[in-house]
Symmetry: C2
């Protein structure tokens, strides 16, 4: 029995919105008029309407739909580098661009990143001030996913934004999970985006769509990004399967981020009460956090499987090794958490805690 | 009244499969089990099964699904250039890479193309033999879309393939419309692909899917292409909206290419009987051809609109200017042609011919 299989056989799951299957597409299209025209290479009502909606949500002059954030962000950094004539940017060592994109930024765009802060914390103003080389753009990821979804304080964001404007450094937001941190900051998306020159948001994390991203900024920037989108092979004849599902799940879930955030804090506190378990961050600032166990991966795995099988509540479907005595998994709260009866949830943690102690 | 609007209001249309609307997706998904899992970043049954099917169809060791041909082809050329250490390729002056991709090959991959043949004809063996510079790869587009869908003879293909193998030049097939030329060549897809080191095919031209492409070749080549797919931002978490629709329409239409080809020859002959009208090629070799008029665009436009409105048969939805006394449109035969009653079709051409003479 693998952890993944045991998870899939549980009655309740604390993470995610649901299984990623064809139903996700069928639900999004059930009420859509079959006579609605496809978009055509970035034009047409279906894509333009959604882009205009996102311009308003993000408070930017212009927005464009991309098949992926990988494509959107490399392009944003390329445009800022070309504009300034300096092929250097700065971001966190665990940025998506640094660890998940096979070095596309370097291999396709020949842009050198300077890594700020370290793998335990987010970028602070001091990290930016200490830069000795000139850069075209600073990328901030809010929240910083690979360290459990941490964010700097809002005051820090403002000070970094002011500093970059003074120094002629463009500030780009990796907002893959932007909507998820708005309840913590108590700000609108447009208020946060106002601090940035360009912004990317995703529609399949907290929003739970099929795939797709939006890049937003000034009109001239977005026009240039469309040229690069074509160069990358992202200007598809039809993007509507992603556009329509993004819009559908955006409407369903953008107003549930406060609920997910509260639920994440509740669940993190249950984990933190277990022997040898700590969450990062200790108190979540979004719908996500990481759960670290001070035991070897194989041991934790079998204890989790036992617990899933006895109580029927799945906590995670995969576990990653940090070192031989530490492992962790990622938690991302979605629609499923509210469906877990509290009594069953508490029984799960009672049993898990007993097993971790034993 | 625009030509586009007049075309959309006709009862019958001679070109295409149907309107590109949401129905295309709904039809493809109607019978798909909603519990079928999404692909995940290139893995999973839904994408792997289709890739394996295409390996067999194309007779190649390995195949990978791409969101677009733009992405797939730039990557193929990049891999061949890196392998040989020479950043030069050759293709036709009207190649998709040269005129429709905003110079992605040059801007992202720094590859220089050498243009072979000219805008009136396809690449012949002599063009390749005359090359004075060493190249890593030669790209042949079959059929050459921008000149009405022309192809070299099959003997020429064999001789070019042999020449390239002798000289250590990789041969890549832009097979956006590969299935459409098989009836003319009287060959299987695998037989044609055997002449090439790498092959790209599309699923939204003659096949009529929503979007999507497959790149095929040896396993080591395909493994490298997956790394570049991620770099380009094309390794989406879910590509199933395109994979499933590609498979659905492939099954529906791959065996109808002979019919489309016969219908294209029939329709071209009707055009060629009109005053001052010639098709390129004169006799089509696929489901497509171009129709040239020796009159100014505005004149032809109003004659077409009149004909559409009187008889109710749409011939084309847009007309392109060659010069002030010549214009043309592209014809691509699909499912619609068979639905046009022959009597009504002939009335259309009688009236059009009268108007063109007048």
């Amino acid at each position: 029995m693998t952890l993944h299989k045991a998870f899939n056989e549980t009655t309740y799951q604390v993470i995610g919105h649901g299984f990623r299957n064809i139903q996700v597409l069928k639900d999004a299209f059930a009420q859509v008029d079959e006579n609605l025209d496809s978009d055509m290479y970035g034009n047409g009502r279906v894509i333009e309407d959604f882009q205009e909606k996102m311009e308003k949500v993000l408070g930017k002059e212009s927005a464009v739909f991309f098949p992926s954030g990988t494509m959107a962000q490399q392009i944003a950094l390329r445009i800022w580098c070309d504009k300034k004539g300096i092929k250097k940017v700065a971001y966190h060592p665990l940025s998506h661009l640094e660890i998940h994109e096979e070095d596309g930024l370097k291999e396709l765009h020949h842009i050198d990143p300077i890594l700020l802060a370290d793998q335990t914390r987010v970028i602070e103003l001091e990290d930016v001030e200490k830069l000795t080389e000139d850069i075209s753009c600073l990328l901030l990821e809010l929240p910083q996913r690979e360290i459990g979804g941490q964010v700097p304080s809002y005051e820090t964001l403002i000070s970094i934004s002011n500093y970059c404007r003074d120094k002629g450094i463009k500030l780009h937001l990796d907002g893959a999970r932007l909507f998820e941190i708005l309840p913590f900051y108590q700000k609108t998306a447009a208020e946060v985006c106002e601090l940035f020159d360009s912004v990317y948001v995703s529609f399949y994390k907290g929003i739970g769509g099929i795939a797709g991203a939006v890049l937003a900024g000034e009109s001239s920037f977005i026009e240039q990004s469309k040229v690069w989108k074509r160069r990358h092979g992202g200007d598809l004849i039809s993007l509507y399967p992603y556009v329509i599902s993004s819009d559908y799940y955006f409407e369903q879930r953008v107003n549930k981020m406060q609920q997910y955030y509260e639920e994440a804090k509740e669940l993190a506190s249950l984990f933190n009460q277990c022997e040898g378990v700590v969450t990062k961050p200790e108190e979540p600032v979004s719908n996500m956090f990481h759960v670290h166990f001070n035991q070897p991966k194989e041991k934790v795995e079998s204890k989790l499987i036992d617990t899933y099988e006895k109580i029927g509540v799945g906590l995670a479907s995969n576990l990653r090794e940090m070192n031989e005595n530490e492992c962790y998994f990622e938690v991302s709260i979605g629609d499923r958490y509210a469906k877990v009866p509290k009594q069953v949830l508490h029984k799960t943690f009672e049993l898990l805690n007993k097993k971790l102690k034993g």
